[in-house]
Amino acid sequence: MPLLTVRGLTKSFQRSGRDAVHAVNDVSFEIDHGETLALIGESGSGKSTIGRLLLRLLEPDAGTIELEGTDLLALRSSALRAMRAKMQVVFQEPYESLNPKMRVGDIVAEPLQIHEPSMSRTDLRERVRATLEEVGLDADQAERFPRGLSGGQQQRVGIARALITRPALVVLDEPTSSLDLSVQAQILEILHDLQEAHGLSYLYISHDLSTVSYLAHRVAVLYLGQIREQGPLEAVVQNPQDPYTQALLAAFLDPDVTVAPSRSRMLAGEIPDPTRLPEGCFLYGRCPVRVDSCRSEPSVLRLLGPKHYGRCIRAPLSDEDWNDASDSNAPGRSS
């Protein structure tokens, strides 16, 4: 049984006087013990919302979330709080996620004070010290305030806070995107080592493919709050089957990620308005390789290879398909 099972997760944000924003649309995935699933997508694709829904920091409109067989959505608030020892989060903004009036030691100790209130003060202090050292901080930094630390150190504090209750699942919401490149590498290495040491499962939310290929075992590509394609890292990155994934990878300039060298793999236009979802395939309005049936057939994830799923009904897509497309029916390019 997987550690986490998510089925049909859906969330829209009602805004007074305006149309609701459909942020997450029928998203399903699983995460195994010790596994990292990367959620990638552009900003506005609903990645962070999914992270918050999983932790019930936001309430989903529909769907089920099971962690270690427990239905999270059925839990009442006190049982949910108890469950939080097992699921933790590291946020994108290291400084903003730390209370400026609390010392590092108190910030890291808080989850233990909540979940193991009977623990003695010496034990607590010892656990805080050990956890700080595990994320590469000195024990005497427990006395400092967050503002006195560098961005990388602040993020280590955030990681220490997430880890001290020994959770099973950690949601990493773009943990390195606001850090310098050199610091990014250190943080990723720590996350990787911690996973090995404790058998942690990660939901790694990112738009940065180079960090994804370092950390992830499996990848899910998100577009308009919907998973376009999902599968093992190699399959999705080396052999992407969805036009959106292909365009995303082609747009990414990194020598480490080898993609078929086709510069013509571009989508037309911008992400459509998430208040009105397109019928059929969400990509139809922007897709250069579309056919008429894209709009009429229901858009579902199909098995394309071992554990590899995608929505495009034309998959597998070849180079010829794209070349044909750039000559003829690319939407928006004729005008």
């Binding site: 939080r84 946020f91 209370n99 808080e110 955030g158």
Partner: protein, 283 residues
């Protein structure tokens, strides 16, 4: 025990560093403290509550430094003695307002229809001129010192609530509050450990402003004959007596208690300014 000692020492150190960075706070606090000590302990040349009917409306002299009023009270003795009554009253009223208003403001920042309703109720309440409302209530409830404190509460509790609520509402959206929820903190714990320490600074600055206003409210109340009753000394009462004499050129009766009010208000405002500056520097 040693832990407690360490904490007090730390608070003391922090206090000293605050004074060093914002000397205005130190100046204001020193003036208030000096006025309080003088009010309680300074030996007075004449009794502040027993008039000398043979020496009315004497101008300032070596015998009566600030002169005497139309009843023969020594203005100097009364101006000093009034500090022992007006200042503690203002401070108690203000601290009670903060004590009630800050937690209520935090509670009113939680999501829910009732918190909106409380704020709308407050709107209705605050649409009255509050000082006039306070005077009316004190008049109706009787001329007692406790009622002066209640008047200060009526004016200040809604202000504290509003201020703290608006700060708390923006805090609620911040990442570290979400992080606190994510580690399993109860709503009460979030308010106590995470929101309160982050609003206490603005609340403190507001406390000093409110104390300055409370001096004014007390003066206004006793000027109108509510609150401190004669022959007990109060700055407002003295100003009221003095106003009658000012047309005949006997300026000293009204000027000295007026100056005392001015100095007390300025001192509290200095503290408030210093605290506000510190808040802004910390951001």
């Amino acid at each position: 025990m040693s832990d407690l000692g360490k904490r007090t020492l730390e608070i003391l150190k922090r206090f000293l560093s605050v004074l060093r960075s914002q000397p205005a706070i130190g100046v204001g606090l020193t003036v208030v403290l000096a006025m309080l000590l003088a009010g309680f302990f300074l030996p007075l040349p004449y009794s502040p509550t027993r008039p000398d009917p043979l020496n009315v409306l004497q101008p300032p002299s070596s015998l009566h430094w600030f002169g005497t009023d139309s009843d023969g009270f020594d203005v100097f003795s009364r101006t000093i003695a009034a500090a022992a009554r007006d200042l503690p009253l203002a401070l108690i009223g203000t601290f009670l307002s903060a004590l009630v208003g800050v937690p209520l403001g935090l509670l009113a920042s939680t999501k829910g229809p009732w918190s909106e309703r409380i704020m709308r109720g407050l709107d209705v309440f605050q649409s009255f001129p509050l000082v006039i409302l306070a005077i009316a209530i004190v008049t109706l409830m009787g001329n007692r010192l406790e009622n002066v404190v209640i008047a200060i509460l009526i004016v200040n509790v809604p202000r504290f609530m509003r201020l703290v609520r608006s700060e708390a509402l923006s805090l609620r959206e911040s990442r570290f509050i979400e992080a606190a929820r994510a580690v399993g903190a109860t709503p009460i714990r979030v308010m106590r450990k995470h929101m309160f320490p982050n609003v206490v600074g603005v609340a403190l600055a507001q406390t000093s402003i409110a104390a300055a206003q409370a001096i004014g409210i007390i003066a206004a109340l006793s000027f109108l004959g509510v609150g401190v009753s004669p022959p007990n000394p109060s700055w407002g009462l003295m100003i009221q007596t003095g106003v009658r004499s000012i047309t005949t050129g006997d300026w000293w009766v009204v000027v000295f208690p007026g100056l005392a009010v001015l100095i007390a208000v300025a001192a509290f405002n200095l503290v408030a300014d210093g605290l506000q500056m510190r808040q802004e520097n910390e951001r």
